[in-house]
């Protein structure tokens, strides 16, 4: 994993001490809330319905066992014994006290963590594939590029006052697990005919009030030009992005209003000026950063593991878990294990301090002490020997972390909604919980197959509802919760925005509506067809008929 250098350490330590002084001045009454708010946001501290919320950056979703233990400790000591993993691969604590925040940040700094890049009109934590460094299908480890971007963007003097927040995502696999097309900038690694790796560059994707799928502005960017090209995009945005209207300030609006071609031209012109300058990334520099992400010391193993195959044959529950929760690894004899944070009736993404401690121990035992967070709010142990999978599964089960539902109906992305969030218009978690209870029968879950349900508690779309195969948006209608249903969204390489199916549903009706949609799908699908494929083949009509019978 990446370890702090002297610069990172000093920066974070200084930030903690600076924030300690700021909090003291606030508590002493020297700073008003208007003066203090931008300062706390710079450190990931929000004020929500019940308390302060602290958002902690987990750069590109990578956590060490030591860090996870620290998060467990913070949950226990300063919060209410749990935390919530978000769709940006970060962790939020929802019951934080302002007066304790400097101590929390100091504890986080001990394990090289902080809340920088988690809020405000700044670069946010760059996100990537949760299987980075382990996936059998990746061209290169995307974490090196995320780290290069992190170093370039952190405290970048020219971009410290952007029109709005800015999110970058990177993927290096053909199948995009990082939703790069719905980010301000999406980078997808490709290999050209000469056998060189570079990036397809997309801009202007995003969700929220005005959702867009990102547009390709460059088909192939050689790796050494990554930073100069990003800098060129940011310069164009910084100069032309709107600062007068919060709702029109994201780059997606600029790209939309300027036109993709013209925007691309502006970027290329800017880039011409700087591409051969100081921002070039020499191969040695890429290799230096990549060395932080060197593979762990794998054992030389056979791809075939007879004892693992035997366990699969004799234990159907284990077999089911392997089928959904285990993903192929690039290293023979190893596997990637997904830990579901979506138990039946549970809050998606929530994890207790006890579970965090236990997973940290399991990571030490089975995964070289490394854990990943996925944007779908699950955890991953990236380096597990296939021969160890059975023992791992046996230990995950009593912890409630072995639900075999990755990618299935109950693997729901869900934002905190009105149960915690000050911006919410409706609750989202109870809907997710009810859906998972309705579909608690594993046979039915597996029979339905792959489907992505995503729920947001307001138009800000932290729950990615626009790109759910089934999307649910919670709204308020004359004081009552009310849910809009969208179908046909997707966040992968074939990204699309869902369309509203028709009039919305009350809180009592929405789970029935989801069930109707899934029953309709099962009744009309072709053999082996996934939900999204059926939807694309047949369109909205059959689902509408099921939902609104005449």
């Amino acid at each position: 994993m990446y370890r702090y250098d002297e610069f990172d350490r000093r920066l974070v330590d200084e930030r903690v001490e600076q924030f300690r002084r700021q909090v003291k001045r606030r508590l002493d009454g020297e700073l008003s809330e208007d003066q203090f708010k931008p300062l706390r946001l710079l450190n990931g501290l929000y004020l929500q319905l019940h308390a302060y919320m602290l958002r902690i950056a987990i750069p590109y979703g990578c956590l060490s066992a030591i860090q996870l233990r620290k998060l467990a400790h913070i949950g226990r000591r300063y919060d209410k014994g749990y935390g919530h993993f978000t769709t940006r691969q970060n962790l939020q604590f929802h019951w934080i006290k302002l007066e304790e925040t400097p101590d929390i940040l100091a504890e986080l700094a001990e394990v090289e963590m902080h809340g920088i890049q988690t809020s405000g009109n700044s670069f946010r934590n760059t996100t990537t594939d949760q299987y980075a460094g382990a996936a059998a299908d990746e061209l290169e480890d995307p974490r090196s590029y995320c780290e290069i971007i992190r170093q370039w963007s952190t405290l970048h003097p020219e971009f410290s006052f952007l029109p709005r927040k800015f999110k970058i995502a990177v993927t290096t696999t053909p199948h995009d697990r990082a939703a790069v097309k719905v980010h301000d900038i999406g980078l997808r690694m490709l290999r050209n005919e000469a056998g060189e790796n570079g990036f397809e560059v997309m801009v202007g994707g995003g969700l929220g009030r005005t959702p867009f799928v990102g547009k390709v502005i460059r088909d192939f960017l050689p790796k050494q030009h990554l930073l100069s090209y990003l800098e060129a995009i940011l310069r164009v945005y910084n100069q032309l992005g709107r600062r007068d209207n919060l709702f029109k300030a994201r780059i997606k609006i600029l790209v939309q209003q300027t036109g993709t071609e013209k925007f691309a031209k502006l970027v290329e012109e800017e880039w011409e000026q700087i591409k051969d300058g100081a921002l070039q990334l020499p191969r040695e520099e890429i290799e230096r950063i990549a060395s932080y992400f060197a593979p762990p010391s794998y054992e030389e193993l056979d791809a075939q593991v007879p004892e693992f195959e035997a366990k699969i044959a004799e234990n159907p529950d284990f077999q089911t878990w392997v089928k959904t929760n285990v993903f192929p690894h690039k290293q023979p004899g190893y596997a990637i294990a997904n830990l579901s944070l979506k138990p039946v009736g549970g809050t998606p993404g929530d994890m207790s301090s006890e579970q965090m401690d236990a997973v940290a121990d399991l990571a030490d035992l089975y995964s070289f002490g490394e854990i990943r967070v996925s944007h779908r709010q699950n955890l991953v142990l990236p380096y597990v020997k296939r021969a160890d999978l059975y023992s791992l599964w046996e230990q995950l089960s009593p912890l409630g972390l072995a639900t075999p539902n990755i990618g299935l109906t109950s693997d729901i992305i869900c934002c905190p909604g009105l149960d915690y969030c000050g911006l919410a218009t409706a609750r989202s978690i109870p809907i997710a919980e009810e859906i998972s209870e309705r579909f608690d029968d594993l046979d039915r879950l597996h029979e339905i197959g792959e489907v992505e349900i995503k729920i947001s508690g307001c138009i800000n779309a932290c729950g990615h509802h626009h790109v759910g195969h089934i999307g649910i948006l919670g709204l308020d209608k004359a004081g009552e919760e009310f849910y809009q249903l969208t179908l046909g969204g997707a966040a992968d390489e074939d990204a699309s925005l869902g369309k509203v199916v028709g009039p919305g549903f009350s809180g009592d009706e929405i789970v029935d509506a989801v069930e109707t949609v899934l029953d309709t799908y099962v009744s009309i699908r072709d053999e082996g067809e996934r939900f999204i494929e059926t939807f694309r083949r047949v369109g909205m009509a059959p689902f509408k008929e099921g939902l609104y019978p005449k």
């Binding site: 019940h50 009105l418 149960d419 919410a424 609750r427 109870p430 004081g479």
Partner: protein, 97 residues
């Protein structure tokens, strides 16, 4: 409609209500209920002074229904602030009473 003042306590962010003695209390049942618009303005004025003293953040009036001892906000958002998350009834004020 009767009203109460809700705010976030500065030091810990907890949702609090203004009581009859001008103090901030944790339970809505203990809050001062304004029965008229002028009375609502009067308790808001007191809340604003407290905000200026940097004791609380973002005070505002909420509509409530009073039923004997019980006081219940009208809007979902304020019901949740007063009680705690609906999916974790072991947390928030609802867990304490």
């Amino acid at each position: 409609m009767p009203q109460a003042v809700i705010a976030s306590r500065l030091r810990d962010g907890r949702a609090v209500f203004l009581d009859r003695n001008g103090r901030w209390v944790e339970f809505i049942q203990d809050s001062r209920i304004a029965q008229s618009e002028p009375e609502g303005e009067e308790i808001m004025e007191s809340a604003r002074r407290s905000e200026e003293r940097q004791e609380i953040v973002d005070p505002y009036l909420i509509d409530v229904v009073v039923d004997g001892e019980a006081v219940r906000p009208v809007l979902n958002r304020e019901i949740i602030r007063a009680a705690g998350p609906t999916i974790r009834t072991d947390l928030g004020r609802q867990a304490k009473r």
